[in-house]
Chain length 311, copies 2
């Protein structure tokens, strides 16, 4: 029998990369402690800050919201209904689970419905952008980034947090390394400080394996959506994750080391950019006012307007 390192009771999880087995209660405690440690290590936020948690209804974001809440951080949630269909009405089902979590924990939840706010669902935006060969995933990212910053700014939140876990970060890193996207490498970080018009962004779960956030959500009896987004099937991200899992299987800790050593190497590779992640000049969008890299309309508003012209 695998035993908990702290109390010698039966362990529920063995984390090979940490050489650490823990029972249920010590694992849940450990996740809280490690999250706190990450928040401090990367100077993400304090208990004075008002935190907006981007929640998808999946295990990572709901677990994160739960952990932050239990650690007595001041949080509210943001759910964006993207209008993604799928067998079980993916978006609607996610929203119901998110609302359930919020009400059970008496937490404020902002909700934005893409169709109602911007006139179209993600699949509809994607469909009408076919000429630009947009994939749903890139359109989806655009809508989410725009909405998250809009709500954070509108209600004066101090920081925006997302549930990205280590596997997410490592998959992105792997992709950026394969194509040596130097600018993307420069910008990948657990915490992006504020810029005029841009709320700071933090990823407090960036050092947890997906398996650990899933175990936390499961052991905490959090009801979350287990389906993958129907559009993610066959995506490069999922392909990369599969390959990285093979590496991890052969050499436990490979993913964590890859990520942490990257963060370390960045200090040497990009010394002058360490603090100022966006050195480019930003301009307010002529329509929505959010910062964008060139004068005129931002990419999001160009998409929304172009779509209105087409229909």
């Amino acid at each position: 029998m695998m035993k908990c390192r702290k109390c010698n009771q039966k362990a529920v999880i063995n984390m090979r990369h940490h050489k650490l087995s823990l029972c249920k209660s010590h694992f849940l405690e450990w996740v809280g402690d490690q999250t706190e440690r990450n928040i401090r290590k990367y100077k993400m936020f304090t208990r004075n800050d008002r935190i907006l948690v981007a929640v998808s209804g999946g295990k990572d974001s709901l677990a994160l919201w739960d952990v932050l809440n239990k650690l007595s951080y001041k949080t509210a949630g943001l759910y964006i209904h993207l209008g993604i269909p799928g067998e079980d009405h993916y978006s609607t089902k996610s929203q119901i689970l998110t609302e359930k979590f919020a009400s059970e924990n008496q937490l404020l939840l902002h909700t934005v419905n893409a169709k109602q706010e911007f006139g179209k669902t993600i699949p509809e935006f994607s469909e009408s952008n076919k000429r630009a060969k947009s994939k749903p995933c890139s359109v989806c990212g655009l809508v989410k980034r725009h909405t998250m910053n809009e709500i954070a700014t509108k209600y004066g939140y101090d920081v925006l947090v997302t549930g990205h876990n280590l596997d997410d970060e490592v998959s992105v890193l792997f992709n950026n390394v394969l194509a040596w996207q130097v600018d993307f490498l420069r910008r990948q970080t657990p915490f992006i400080p504020a810029k005029v018009g841009l709320t700071p962004k933090a990823k407090p779960f960036c050092r947890f394996y997906e398996r650990e956030t899933a175990a936390y959500a499961f052991l905490s009896n959090i009801e979350y959506i287990t389906d993958e987004c129907p559009f993610s099937e066959g995506s490069t991200t999922l392909q990369n994750k599969e390959l990285l899992n093979q590496l991890e299987h052969k050499r436990a800790g490979t993913k964590l080391a890859f990520y942490l050593k990257f963060l370390n190497a960045k200090k040497e590779l990009f010394p002058e950019h360490e603090i100022d992640h966006f050195s480019d000049e930003l301009f307010p969008c002529a329509v929505c006012g959010q910062p964008t890299t060139a004068p005129g309309k931002c990419t999001f508003c160009r998409m929304v307007i172009r779509d209105q012209e087409l229909t």
Copy 2:
């Protein structure tokens, strides 16, 4: 039937990453042309230089020697008998094949026998270095690097070339990236210029897939050793190659893009080191006189001397 792009005859090879199918004679010509292009692109050497080709008896180094010879470069070979056993007397068999190639092409071949020159074979060095947990591969690399530079210096060769192909380079790159070994990344390059006491090193085959060098050797009727070194079984290098092959299979050209984009990104990542690859001060070894990073004896001489003391 797959057709040669140049002459419409039956093709013998299809290179998906180049969208290029070629017949036997146009493929052999293409390999020569591309090699010439690489030599010029990375300013490796000219037809005035005396070139020492490190030959293992495998497909890559014999193919490289053949190509350089046919391109009218002034070459000689260097074979190092490392005393590696295996079913078919790996080292001895390799030496016979190398000598056969040299005599058939009337080319000068230097041979060095590790046992005779340094007192021990690679397995013996490795065995007696157990306390230092040396693996045969690291001892082997040390002996080869020492011997190659020794012979190149002794006989006044202008440049030392090795048969590393794209798969070799990409496997090393992948390893260095996984561990973010910034100094190793900085030094990985198709051409290392001269330093006091160090002969320049070039890898003219660095842009060829292993499959291409194998096809060249096969189609040129070069007899080469097909066994893998018995010590390479289960090595990280082979594991990495397997993973990278999966990536390549899904997206043809991934390996080539990974390598070429890396060489490009280096200009941005390491601007000041672009030309001066070894910025560290070097000292002549007190025993062999070859350059080493600290005053006193070099790692090779320390190993050889320690071994003499032990026996």
